[in-house]
């Protein structure tokens, strides 16, 4: 049922200019199933997501491209239209505004655009949306922290950082709060913990 030839063309088309577009698609887990893909987008410059690389799980229904692809963030992200729990996305073109003339690449580019311009009035994650509207600076700090912790391949996992600092004798709650306040920078957190 799935239009295999179209999907193959799409993959080729998309990956040809991935260096410029910042989006790419590969088969999920290097498998051979064309209906299960894995997309990658880079965080847009000038946003709290800058510098991050975000993984998106893509599954194509048998009716694709006449039915929209299903997309979900694998990388944890702090954004009003993306669930902080499970990565579910609220975007019209992935629902009723989908058109068979759109492609996976255009969908990923739309996700990138969504990272630049959240729509808090149509939220997926109510908590994040509230914060975005009421305490914008906190929102930016949290989003940046999450990018730092979850979307940077080089960064050490948050659990490890916490573990390390707790072993130095600070309480776990205090460590977590401090880390968050300095957007996950281990050294700054240590400095702060020692001075305060």
């Amino acid at each position: 049922m799935l239009d295999v030839s179209r999907v193959q063309k799409e993959l080729m088309e998309c990956n040809r200019d991935k260096a410029i577009s910042g989006v790419s698609i590969v088969l999920h887990d290097g498998g051979s199933d064309l209906s299960h893909l894995s997309g990658t987008i880079t965080g847009p410059v000038g946003t709290p997501y800058e510098g991050g690389t975000f993984q998106i799980d893509i599954s194509l229904p048998s009716g694709y491209p006449f039915e929209p692809p299903k997309m979900q963030f694998i990388t944890k992200v702090w954004h009003p239209n993306i669930s902080s729990q499970n990565g579910a996305i609220c975007l019209d073109i992935l629902k009723d505004q989908w058109s068979p003339a759109l492609t996976l690449k255009t969908a990923l580019l739309s996700l990138q655009a969504l990272l630049s311009a959240p729509e808090p009035d149509d939220p997926q994650d109510a908590v994040v949306a509230q914060q975005y509207l009421r305490e914008y600076p906190t929102f930016v700090a949290t989003a940046r922290y999450w990018t730092e912790v979850f979307a940077k391949r080089t960064s050490v996992g948050i659990e490890e950082k916490v573990q390390k600092l707790v072993e130095m004798g600070f309480s776990e709650d205090l460590v977590k709060n401090t880390l968050e306040s300095v957007n996950g920078d281990e050294n700054m957190a240590l400095e702060k913990l020692c001075s305060g």
Binding site: S5, F66, A101
Partner: protein, 611 residues
Amino acid sequence: MADDDDFQSSSDLEGADCYFSDQDDVLEETVLQVLEDGREEDCHWSVSSVITKESLLAAQKEDLRKVMDLLALREQHARTLLIHYRWDVERIFELLEQKGKERLFSEAGVTTIQHKGLDLPDSSDPVECNVCFENVSRSTVTEMDCGHYYCNDCWTEHFIVKINEGQSRRIRCIAPKCNAVCDEAVVRNLVSARHPDIADRFDRFLLESYIEDNNKVKWCPSAPHCGNAIRVEGDIYCEVECACGLQFCFSCLSQAHSPCSCLMWELWTKKCHDESETVNWITVNTKPCPKCHKPVEKNGGCNLVACICGQAFCWLCGGATGRDHTWSSISGHSCGRFKEDQEKRTERARRDLYRYMHYHNRYKAHTDSLKQESNLKETIQGKISISENKESKIKDYAWVTNGLNRLFRSRRVLSYSYPFAFYMFGDELFKDEMTTEERELKQNLFEDQQQQLESNVEKLSMFLEKDFQDFSDDEVMDTMSHVINLSNVVDRLCKQMYQCIENDLLYPLQRATHNIAPYKSKGLERASELSLCWDSDQSMSVKTYPEDSYAQQNLTANGSGATLPGRHSVILHGSSSDESGCSSRKRARTDGLGGAARFDLNMPAEVVDKN
């Protein structure tokens, strides 16, 4: 004795609501009545008609015709427009003035300006389809009115997905952000080439849009579905009777429930359902005798019951009453009245339950009476035939059946007046709308009327239960005059109660709007056959629209009242089959999200058996 009572209450009444002196002649009285009726009908004017499977096409064509003629549109564009504006022809004409043609059309997705040929290259070279990315020959590409083109395979796939999603009525162009609705002829042609069954479904969806996307037309909620829909012109807050015999509230589709508003009725049925699960008292159909405490079952319609020990008591409150002046003591005592006894019940919850039980007991008592009295119908038919065949001057017994029908209607009003009162004078809906004093005043006013109605309904029930077939002519005459008199009194009291509800109780409310379906003295009118009124001006439409052989066949079928199964299956292809009848019922329930609960919610087990 009882007789004095009847006339007492009826003349009391007249004295109270008109300005004439005691010596009014009957004529003035009649004039007043006519004026009253006229006024009532003015503000609650509504006419209902049945749309059967067979007349659906005709009904739809009628509206399509109007729009096509006025706006010089092709049928498919008129349909798109009508679907968008919910088949409200008047609104389309209004908006035409306000917005102008162009905006009116573009908002609905109608493309009348030709964009064709703008995008599609002129040469005969193969073109690339932007969906499958294949190069295809020009002959297998279709361009829509908006100018967007794709290969036929991709269009077909798109249409099928949309039809299966239930979006037949407005299948948009494939191009992102293009608002144009696809040409229905193209959809039909391409889809039927590959899946004739899906093309049939597409046609049926377009046809049924006249019901599904139309505020003035609704499916009859009968289960199993009778296949009919009802169209209402005028006030849509009314109660209607389908050709299948089901009476229902047009606004909320549950059983007829006036003088309750739809919201009150919804809350009430929900409450009854909830309460009956926690408290088992609803199922208790017996009451202990106040003297010997044996359980006594109620078996007549009236609310005076007698135990085998000889004790008579009032079913409503369980209090002992005398046997001699039975109904006068029922009308005299104030068991229909409820006083909140603050001292004894301080707990709020307990008091609420008690209050609910008070209203529910009375509501239940009257619906039970209604059930019992329905059985009376047959018994009374038997009595009438005996009477008609016996040696007597009296041959006309229409007064019995008339009285019985009046009894049913007023009993119905009476039972629904209890949930009404429960919400009207309770805290749930109108807490801040009235001061305590106001509420008390109004409650007294209403309960006065309710009690008068109640006592007269019981009297009417009592007279109708009499074994008049064994009476002498004089006794029959006496019974007849009581029944006729009480019928009039009861009718008048019902009218008065509705007026009180509308003018004195609901009208002054600031924040809430509750529409009550009007009271009809003669009972609900059965919806008329739609095709008949359509026939009259059809001769013209058929002439101007000769290719429409369906309508013509249909016309003949309905005009003659004959059933032409072959033709009907053409008209509503698939609709007459089991599968589709089923799916249309399913859609009626699932389409308006939350509608899934509609039937269940409106018909908790204890209400469902009301008939």
